[in-house]
């Protein structure tokens, strides 16, 4: 088999694991890909270098291909996402001072999103100053899930609380230095805040919205059209990597590889926390969050069009775009379940037969139809009990606050 050189950009976050292990464990090579990984310092660089073609593909925040295709970002280029890099992986972490105040107002130790949000709302109501939270990028899942959690807890983002943007690696220092009161970020940066800055985790992405997507492997639509075989190879390599990564027997090795200086450059013990779901959430308090990061189960790598639409609904909610049915169609078209399904057909992999699903309607695991039989899916509740039906997108958007 001939080998094709491929350059991929990534940020030091645990969910770069699909790209990293595809290279380190030979899954890319088995597909004829000579994969070069380039660690970047900002999402802006990922966006620009992907748009310019310096990167063939890149780990991207799930809403990034949408923003690029909707012409909301500089160097706007149509982007697609045929693979999701797993579900979950984020948490919300606060400073020692804010945790003390939240605990005084009844915050729980179990990371439950509702009671934690209610405690924060009481702190915000009695606080002398406006609290400041950090997220990693404006068009990020972090920004939208933090805002979702705040709004559903009775806190109005921007008015009651300030939200600023900082890259993941700088968040723990900013929190420790008093520049931030809290942040929403992917692992290992919550655990690093806990270990090095006395921070406290208060809730997780998995608690706010169960089994929800965070990063994707994104690429220019024009490049994907010109290189359909490469795209299929990337999908197959990612799928096999996900399978390998999801096997508990490979957890220690995965943590060791990811901890390497070229990747997360952190201690393997810290990196392993998100993989095992066993967290020190602050001051030695241990919590088990089994669905914190889902690398492969629950069709975790499948790009649901409905998930793209949910992100679009949040872009509208926070005033980044006005709702237009044609824009919603562009957003949905960025996620490409068709490419995913076609690439995996030769493997006989079991892949969802539908392109969209409802979310917030399953409190426990359930089954959907797959190409090779029933597929078990994880619970998908939003913590405030809302549900999202992509067929009723417009009503969902109208009913959101603020609108």
């Amino acid at each position: 088999m001939s080998t094709t050189h491929l350059t991929a950009g990534f940020l030091p976050l645990l969910d770069s694991v699909l790209l990293v292990l595809a290279r380190e464990k030979g899954f890319a090579e088995a597909e004829g890909l000579d994969l070069t990984l380039v660690r970047e310092t900002s999402w802006a660089n990922i966006r620009d270098r992907a748009a310019l073609g310096h990167f063939d593909v890149a780990q991207m925040l799930a809403p990034m291909p949408l923003a690029a295709s909707l012409n909301l970002t500089p160097l706007a280029t149509e982007m697609i996402a045929p693979v999701v890099c797993g579900l979950g992986n984020n948490a919300i972490t606060v400073s020692t001072e804010l945790w003390t105040a939240m605990a005084d107002h009844g915050a729980p130790q179990d990371l439950a999103a509702g009671p934690s949000g209610a405690a924060l709302a009481r702190v915000v109501a009695s606080s002398q100053r406006k609290l400041r939270f950090g997220v990693v990028h404006q068009t990020s899942s972090h920004n939208y899930e933090l805002r979702y959690w705040l709004a559903a807890s009775g806190i109005r983002p921007d008015r009651d609380i300030e939200i600023v943007v900082l890259p993941p690696s700088l968040l723990p220092d900013a929190l420790g230095g008093g520049g931030l009161d809290g942040y929403c970020v992917g692992e290992p940066w919550n655990s690093i805040g806990v270990a090095s800055k006395g921070a406290h985790m208060v809730t997780t992405k998995a608690a706010i919205w169960q089994s929800s997507p965070d990063k994707v492997i994104g690429m220019r639509a024009s490049w994907a059209e010109q290189n359909p075989e490469l795209v299929a190879s990337i999908i197959r390599a990612s799928y096999r990597t996900g399978q390998w990564c999801a096997d508990p027997a490979n957890l220690v090795e995965t943590a060791q590889i990811m901890a390497g200086a070229a990747y997360l450059d952190a201690s393997p013990e810290i990196v392993a926390r998100a993989l095992s779901g066993q967290f020190d959430i602050g001051a030695g308090e241990i919590q088990h969050v089994p669905d914190f990061f889902i690398a492969h189960a629950s069709a975790a790598n499948f790009p649901w069009k409905s998930h793209a639409l949910w992100y679009y609904s949040q872009m509208v909610r926070w005033g980044e775009v006005a709702y237009r049915a044609s824009d919603a169609a562009i957003a949905a078209a960025c996620f490409r379940p068709d490419l995913y399904r076609a690439a995996l057909a030769p493997l006989g992999a079991n892949v969802p037969i539908l392109d969209s699903k409802t979310d917030g309607t399953h409190a426990t695991t359930y089954e959907i139809a797959g190409t090779a039989g029933p597929l078990v899916m994880g619970a998908d509740r939003f913590f405030d009990g809302q549900s999202f039906d992509p067929a009723a997108l417009e009503r969902y958007i109208t009913d959101q606050t603020p609108n």
Binding site: T41, S42, W43, A44, N45, D48, R49, L52, H54, P74, L75, A76, V136, H137, Q138, V164, V165, L166, P167, S169, L170
Partner: protein, 196 residues
């Protein structure tokens, strides 16, 4: 004198590189050039000087912070990343390849920006070359030291002249198809292990 009226802000955590770019722009006739090393103060600086062009190094992890600040800014003249119309793709490509990005106040004509970006790109390249040459000079100096140590060992233990010691190292390297410094390093390490 090109665009003497445009004000330019350089954001670079590398002090040396920032001053090399600043000099380049001043030499090209730009009088209104400011430099800052930390994005944290960016809000105040931008409000005070309202730059027409902002030049930033791509290694700077706070590009996302800067862009978020722009998006919140209520100023009418909001800076945008380079040339959004992409009509000059090669220019953007050259800049990013050199490791530099620029934000330009919306509506500013491309032909007024191009000379500024040209200076920034050439100065970024000049700095990269300088850094590379410095690293090379350092490593050559290190190599020289190791070879001198190895020669000294050969002179002392085998009673060779300096010229013969050098010839022996060189011929061994050639026979083994290795670099002379690697042979010298092996000899120095072995001598250390065997001790005085």
């Amino acid at each position: 004198m090109p665009n003497p009226d445009l004000s330019i802000l350089i954001i670079d955590e590398n002090h040396l590189r920032a001053s090399i770019i600043e000099d380049g722009l001043r030499e090209a006739g730009h009088g209104r050039v400011a430099v800052m090393h930390d994005v944290n103060d960016v809000a105040r600086t931008i409000t005070n000087m309202s730059p027409d062009v902002i030049v930033i190094d791509l290694e700077n992890p706070k590009r996302d912070t800067l862009e978020h600040f722009f998006s919140l800014s209520r100023a009418v003249q909001r800076p945008i990343v380079m040339f959004v119309d992409r009509s000059d793709g090669t220019m953007i490509d050259k800049a990013v390849a050199a490791g530099v990005s620029a934000y330009v106040v919306d509506g500013l004509k491309k032909e007024r920006i191009k000379p500024i970006l040209d200076v920034a790109i050439s100065r970024f390249h000049a700095f990269a070359t300088l850094t590379r040459e410095l690293a090379q000079a350092r490593s050559e100096l290190e190599d020289r030291k190791i070879i001198d140590q190895a020669k000294a060992i050969l002179i002392k233990t085998r009673g060779l002249s300096e010229a013969d010691a050098y010839t022996l190292l060189r011929s061994t390297a050639m026979n083994q198809n290795r670099r002379m410094v690697d042979i010298a390093q092996s000899l120095v390490t072995a001598a250390d292990l065997l001790g005085p």
